[in-house]
Structures are given as structure tokens and as C-alpha cells.
């Protein structure tokens, strides 16, 4: 029995969908299919849809190398499995092909926020080149280094140094906040407002940034100031 490999042309390249089966069989089916059509497909950018298949870094890395040995590029992996999504992001692969339309996603976003769901927790250092996207909130326990990016539909909280680029309320949520123990991002965005961090002097302290009258304001996170927040 052979596993079906469906290849469809999309704006960003080729969308490859694999039929059901064990991962080894599906991988073999994909590679032999690419071998057959090799000359025809050469140079193409592939987005691979694997359904609910959980994939480890070794498996995905091996597949990516096998695909690149055939003269093609794997640039995105679409999956319902959070494990696979995380693996793909770690390897620098995209996990969705195009952004959902703004109008629709804001609506779905609001309902999600009311449910208080969709917060992801990341417990590691986010290094340069790492891009973390989530429609809900993002909580990081660790540092966010320069060159890393966090894009969240909701709030962003970093228990560590925030030195990369962060965008909270990315789909228009103006009451989103960004908190960090050391808030020194290269660039901070909330909803559609962008701000740069001024050079800090002295010891870093926990801060929270939010929009006040359409401008990004950072205020100390100490309990004293929180009662008198508006005066900062």
C-alpha cells in the first residue's frame, strides 16, 4: 500500500500534504515522490502539512536535510501537534503559510481572551533568530536576547532580561502590556505603536510598558508606583 502524496501550488511555493500512515512510511513516500519528480520540482520551496504527527528535532532535521539534498527547500511545516510546531520553530521553519485575515482573527482572538486561554509558557533563553508567535499571551521564563522576536496577540511577560524585539497586542489589542525584569528591548511595539528603549543608566529594575493616550509608557513595576501609575 502506498501513501498518498499530494502536491499543490500555492503563492509561497508548494504545499505538500501527506496521507495517513506511520511517520517512516510517510517520510519514505515523500522522498521517493520527490526523487521521481526531482528534475521538475528542483529549486522549489516546500511547505509540508503533516496533520497531527508529532515530530522530534532529529526527525524533522533529517527530513529537512534529505529534502535539501534533493535540491529543494523545506521552509514551513504545518501541523496540529504543538510538539511539531515547537520543533519546527526551533529549526527556524515557519509553522503557518500566511497570516490570517486581520478582521477575522481579531474577532476570534477576543472570544479566546474572554475564555482566558491560549497563553504559552516558554522556559528557556530565546536567542537571536528565534521568532515566537502566539495569538494569545506569552510568558517567558528566561532571557530574550537581541535578534529574537516575540509577537503576541495579548500580553507579554518576561521573567528575565528582555533585549529583543517584542510586539504585544499585535492584532490591535491596545490594552496589552509588556512586563520584564529588565525591560530593554531593541524595539517595543504595542498594538500599532512603536517605541525604542532609551539608554538605561544604573541598575535594571522590573518594568511594565503599556499604552497611555496612544504613546508607549514604561513604568516601574514596584508595588509603590502601581497605585499611582498615571503619574509616571
Amino acid at each position: 500500500m502506498s501513501i498518498q502524496v499530494e502536491i499543490k501550488g500555492i503563492r509561497e511555493g508548494l504545499l505538500v500534504t501527506l496521507g495517513d500512515g506511520s511517520w517512516d512510511e510517510r517520510e519514505a513516500a515523500l522522498l521517493s515522490h520527490l526523487d521521481e519528480k526531482g528534475a521538475f520540482l528542483r529549486g522549489a520551496r516546500i511547505a509540508l502539512s503533516v496533520g497531527a504527527q508529532p515530530l522530534k528535532a532529529v526527525q524533522l532535521g533529517r527530513l529537512r536535510d534529505a529534502i535539501s539534498e534533493r535540491g529543494l527547500t523545506l521552509w514551513a511545516v504545518l501541523s496540529d501537534s504543538p510538539k511539531t510546531q515547537e520543533t519546527a520553530q526551533n529549526l527556524g521553519l515557519a509553522t503557518r503559510i500566511s497570516k490570517p485575515r486581520a478582521g477575522r482573527s481579531i474577532k476570534s482572538l477576543e472570544t479566546r481572551f474572554q475564555g482566558g486561554e491560549e497563553t504559552i509558557l516558554v522556559q528557556r533563553t530565546l536567542r537571536s533568530g528565534y521568532r515566537l508567535e502566539n495569538e494569545g499571551n506569552v510568558v517567558v521564563i528566561g532571557d530574550v536576547n537581541p535578534g529574537a522576536e516575540i509577537i503576541a496577540g495579548g500580553h507579554v511577560i518576561v521573567w528575565g532580561r528582555l533585549r529583543g524585539m517584542v510586539h504585544a497586542g499585535a492584532q490591535g489589542k491596545e490594552d496589552a502590556v509588556v512586563c520584564a525584569l529588565d525591560l530593554s528591548p531593541t524595539q517595543l511595539r504595542i498594538a500599532d505603536k512603536i517605541s525604542l528603549t532609551p539608554k538605561r543608566r544604573g541598575k535594571p529594575k522590573p518594568e511594565m510598558a503599556r499604552l497611555v493616550d496612544g504613546a508607549v509608557v514604561a513604568e516601574s513595576w514596584s508595588p509603590k508606583k502601581i497605585t499611582g501609575m498615571d503619574t509616571v
Binding site: 528535532a57 532529529v58 532535521g61 536535510d65 535539501s68 539534498e69 526551533n90 529549526l91 527556524g92 533563553t125 536567542r127 537571536s128 533568530g129 528565534y130 532571557d143 536576547n145 537581541p146 535578534g147
Partner: protein, 267 residues
């Protein structure tokens, strides 16, 4: 005998990957280990020049992989350090001539013949980097105390973690203690704090490194050089020894440094 494969990489170019590879290899060989260096920078080879073996190249890495010669034929033996060998890169091809699985196969074949296999990675994060990283047991990331180099090192460390080859170990190369003291250069602590990985070596800036590279004579063979000492220390730490870091940036005056220099036996 089963060798440890050490890949030396950096992301940014020009920070001293090739120099570090040549010197750590020479230091290990000087201790009597059998070392094979592989230059994975196909198309832009340099390791042969630094080691002074350029004029002895007959076969190269791509010849081995494409089956035009046997592995042994491509291994150039250093005449000064008889346990040091080099498999040079091809100069007339590019990175796509080799795949990550080729490198894994090659290193597995070599594992029985050597104690250490050192892989000099090309700059960048593309195919050449992935070729170099694929067979690695240990990855050394070289950086300079400069923001751009540290930024690239951070990216590379992230990629190494993603490939499950981590944790990488850090070498800070070309440190100028004078400049750090004046506050004009990133200090080791700043670099380590940002990158959050273990430090395995700090190499001071030393003009003699350039001189020795031009002569094709690794600086570790020069007993007087501080940089050479730093590379020898890296080689010892790779073997699991605990070696204190060279005292490079104390605020000591000239005479104190001189006396310490004499006490340490000129090392």
C-alpha cells in the same frame, strides 16, 4: 579507539575559527594524541595554509566523498607533529558538493583511526554550517568581544540547540585586556552573561598569531606566546581537565605582570 568529533564554528566570519582549529589540533597532537583536522569550508579553504600544508595537497574532502580516492590518501600528515593530519577542503567546488550525511559517514569511518577529529566550519548558517555540525560530539563556538560577533554567536548557539548538538562551549578570541580595562571592549562576563553557555577558553589578542599564520606554523608551538598558552589550555579543557583561566585583565601594573609572567615559567 573512538574519536571525539569537535566542530569549531562561529556564524560570523573572521573571528578565528580556522586559527582556533589549527591551534587546538596542534596542541592536542603535541600531547601525542592522533588528530585529524577536516576543513569543511569547501570553496574557501584556509586551514591548509594556516597549518603550512598547502603545497602537499593531492586529494581533498570532495575526492574522498565522491570516491576518487581512499580516506588515507587524502590525509596529509604534518611533518613537525607526526600525529597531526589534515583532510583539506576542495577549492574548485562549493558547499553543495557535500551533504550532512556524507560528513557523518566520513567521521564515523575516521573514528576508528583517531583520538580527535576537528572540523573547521565555514561562516554562515547555511549548508556548510549544517555539514560541519552534523557529525559533532562537541561544538565550540568562537566569538570576539564585539557586539556583532556576539549576536551571531547567539544565533549559532540557538541553531546548535535546535539540532540537539548543544550545549555549545564558548571561546572568546582576540580579547584586548587594555581595552576592556578602559571600558572600550565587552568584558568576558558581559559576553558569557548574554550567551549563557559554558566558557572553555579566552584567547588574548596577539600579533604573533598573524605572523605564525603567515609562516604556516601554529602559535601553540611557540612556548612564549600567551595566545598559544590559551589554545593549549583549551585543548586540555577539552580532555576534561580543569585548568584555571589565564589572568589577562587584572589591573596589575607592568612589574607585577612581569613578575607573574616569570613565576609562571614564561607561559
Amino acid at each position: 579507539m573512538s574519536a571525539t568529533v569537535v566542530t569549531i564554528t562561529s556564524g560570523k566570519g573572521g573571528v578565528g575559527k580556522t586559527t582556533a582549529t589549527a591551534n587546538v589540533a596542534a596542541a592536542l597532537a603535541a600531547e601525542g594524541h592522533k588528530v585529524v583536522c577536516i576543513d569543511a569550508d569547501i570553496g574557501l579553504r584556509n586551514l591548509d595554509v594556516i597549518l603550512g600544508l598547502e603545497n602537499r595537497i593531492v586529494y581533498d574532502l570532495v575526492d574522498v566523498i565522491e570516491g576518487r580516492c581512499r580516506l588515507r590518501q587524502a590525509m596529509i600528515r604534518d611533518k613537525r607533529l607526526p600525529t597531526l593530519h589534515l583532510i583539506p577542503a576542495a577549492q574548485t567546488r562549493d558547499k553543495s558538493a557535500v551533504s550532512p550525511s556524507d560528513m557523518v559517514r566520513l567521521c564515523n569511518e575516521l573514528r576508528h583511526e583517531a583520538d580527535w577529529i576537528l572540523l573547521d566550519s565555514p561562516a554562515g548558517i547555511e549548508r556548510g554550517f549544517r555539514n560541519a555540525i552534523a557529525p559533532a560530539d562537541i561544538v565550540l563556538v568562537i566569538t570576539n568581544p564585539e557586539i556583532s560577533a556576539v549576536r551571531d554567536a547567539d544565533r549559532i548557539i540557538g541553531l546548535i540547540e535546535a539540532e540537539e548538538k548543544g550545549p555549545a562551549r564558548l571561546v572568546v578570541n582576540r580579547l584586548k585586556p587594555e581595552m576592556v580595562r578602559r571600558g572600550d571592549m565587552l568584558a568576558i562576563e558581559d559576553v558569557v552573561e548574554l550567551l549563557a553557555v559554558d566558557l572553555i577558553g579566552v584567547v588574548p589578542d596577539d600579533e604573533q598569531v598573524v605572523v605564525s599564520a603567515n609562516r604556516g606554523l601554529p602559535i601553540v608551538l611557540d612556548g612564549k606566546s600567551r595566545a598559544g598558552q590559551a589554545f593549549r589550555n583549551i585543548a586540555r579543557r577539552l580532555q576534561g581537565e580543569t585548568v584555571p583561566f589565564l589572568d589577562l585583565e587584572s589591573g596589575a601594573g607592568f612589574f607585577e605582570r612581569l613578575s607573574r609572567f616569570l613565576r609562571s615559567g614564561g607561559n
